[in-house]
């Protein structure tokens, strides 16, 4: 497949600080690519360089096979556009915000009107033309930012944490829009995020950026389903347990993680291992349930944290487990701190760190 943009040995320094350290990356035409990494890892710098609004200290960039330099940078810049993490809006109406790039490109008033109307429909903000951009809600503002970028129909769309700090409704509108645009128009999108769940749901390939270096590139599945030490180091994975594993005759392994807790995992490994279970992979019940799942533990809730649409519970079952359930389940089950519960998860939900 053709690459739309290729970074070769890109380094960017600000004084003594190295924001990007010999980064090489190829983005394929038509894909949605994720750059995952913690705050300060260089994601924004990387996107700004790919948007040609910042220049690398050293290294080469090729766009559609053409080497980018001072002579063609501003012309190539018009083929990309970036949506910033901190919503930046012109202090005027929604219409004028979205029309800005079209005006620069010399579209007629009639064409601009049509395109603005269409794109507002895309981000579910029909009829917002005359509203003041800075007077609508934060989620709506971010959708205006996205619309303003989408209306230009550029070959490459760069999104810097587009859903950071947004509520689930606005988040899903933005995610759906990005996926839909990619599907319908075949434009390439590169998204920076620290939300791994999002990275996994809407992108096929991803890179992991740590301290300005790319430490992993691969399919989202490879990176996020079987996390490496790099990923755990920034994702602060919960339910990480270390212990001694022995292989059972059934082919799975039983890991003694201490405090009387033994976890069965669908892997063949003996000796010292570290494993983790995703909080959303654990089924929580009031009574023991009969299922195919190999791991069942009895425990008590010790902590409850409300995260809008979901609830996270800390359960002491010898070892402490973090479990994530929907708010609705939480209400229906009438759970409280000290409630006795059962935790159930499959051996295949246990991953090696």
């Amino acid at each position: 497949m053709k690459n739309i943009i290729e970074l070769e040995n890109i380094t960017k320094t600000y004084g003594n600080i190295t924001a990007l350290d010999h980064v090489s990356l190829k983005i394929r035409q038509g894909e949605i690519f994720t750059i995952a990494g913690p705050n300060g890892s260089g994601k924004t710098t990387m996107l700004k360089i790919m948007a040609f609004i910042d220049t690398p200290t050293s290294g080469e960039i090729h766009f559609n096979g053409v080497k980018v330099g001072d002579e063609n940078r501003s012309q190539i810049r018009t083929k990309c556009t970036m949506v910033f993490q901190k919503t930046a809006l012109f202090n005027t109406t929604v219409y004028k915000n979205i029309a800005y790039g079209l005006k620069l490109r010399g579209f007629s008033k009639k064409e601009i009107d049509e395109r603005v109307k269409d794109v507002l429909g895309f981000v579910k903000l029909d009829g917002y033309e005359k509203r003041f951009a800075k007077k609508i809600s934060g989620g709506e503002q971010q959708r205006v930012s996205l619309a303003r970028a989408l209306v230009l129909d550029t070959e490459l769309l760069l999104l810097d944490e587009p859903t950071a700090n947004l509520d689930p409704k606005n988040m899903s509108i933005i995610e759906e829009t990005v996926s839909r645009v990619n599907r319908e128009r075949k434009n390439t999108a590169v998204m920076a995020t620290h939300n791994l769940f999002q990275a996994e749901t809407i992108t096929k390939r991803a890179a992991l950026l740590l301290g300005g270096k790319i430490v992993e590139v691969g399919t989202a599945q490879e990176i996020f389903r079987t996390p490496s030490k790099h990923l755990t180091s920034f994702a602060r994975l919960e339910n990480v347990f270390s212990g001694t594993s022995r292989i059972l005759k059934e082919g799975t392994s039983l890991i003694d993680v201490g405090d009387g807790v033994e976890i069965e995992a669908a892997l063949r490994k003996s000796g010292k291992v570290s494993v983790f279970v995703r909080p959303e992979d654990i089924i929580l019940s009031r009574k023991p349930i009969s299922s195919s799942a190999r791991n069942v533990f009895k425990g008590r809730i010790v902590e409850i944290s409300d995260l809008e649409s979901v609830v996270r519970l800390r359960v002491d079952a010898g070892k402490q487990f973090v479990v994530q359930i929907t708010k609705r389940s939480f209400n229906e089950m009438q759970l409280n701190v000290r409630s006795e519960v059962f935790l159930t998860f499959k051996a295949s939900s246990v991953h090696v760190v």
Partner: protein, 231 residues
Amino acid sequence: MGNEIIDGFIKALQLILSGDHTVMEISGRSILVSGSATMLSVLWGLPVATILGLKRFRGRFVLKGLFNAMLGIPTVALGLVLYLFFSNAGPIGFLHVLYSPPAMIIGQAILITPITVSFITSAIESIDPEIKDLAKTLGASETEASIAVLKESMSGVVLAITASFNRAIAELGVVLMVGGNIAGFTSVLTTTIALETNKGNIELSIALAIILLLIVSVLSVSINLIQRRKT
């Protein structure tokens, strides 16, 4: 004494309401001279402020500090320097502009340039630096992106221009030194108020002071109203 002041007020109001020729002529000249001076200071101050606000270069802080320091320049001192420049023995004496409106305009323009530059610079600096990147990523050239930032800082720019005009129309030192308060030619509000008060022509002074205050406050209030409607 009290009666004199009240009398002065009444006569002053009569002068204003009757559209007295001298009052109107002096007021008109004041607005014209200070308005032109403001335009001139914006003409050269705006590009300087845009560069100071947007570009990062060596000596930027020194330059900014210099303009800030000149904000409080004593008008009489500047008037004296300009007098020496414009006088026949001075380096640009050949222009023969001393004691004429052009000299007053140039003098005031120089006086208010630090205000124009400093205030516009901080208005530009207060704009989110991301706006420039935003304009660029939407397809703007370097110049178009700078214009976008300038547009965003428009309310601050308008405020800077208003403040500059107010300083110009209210100052006395420069216009007195290089204009000379020649009746019917270079006399403006401030110079006439000073002179007529000394002469004991209190009602004319009061009338002109009222007009001066009116110009300054009406301008400030209307700018304020326009700005509020825009946001």
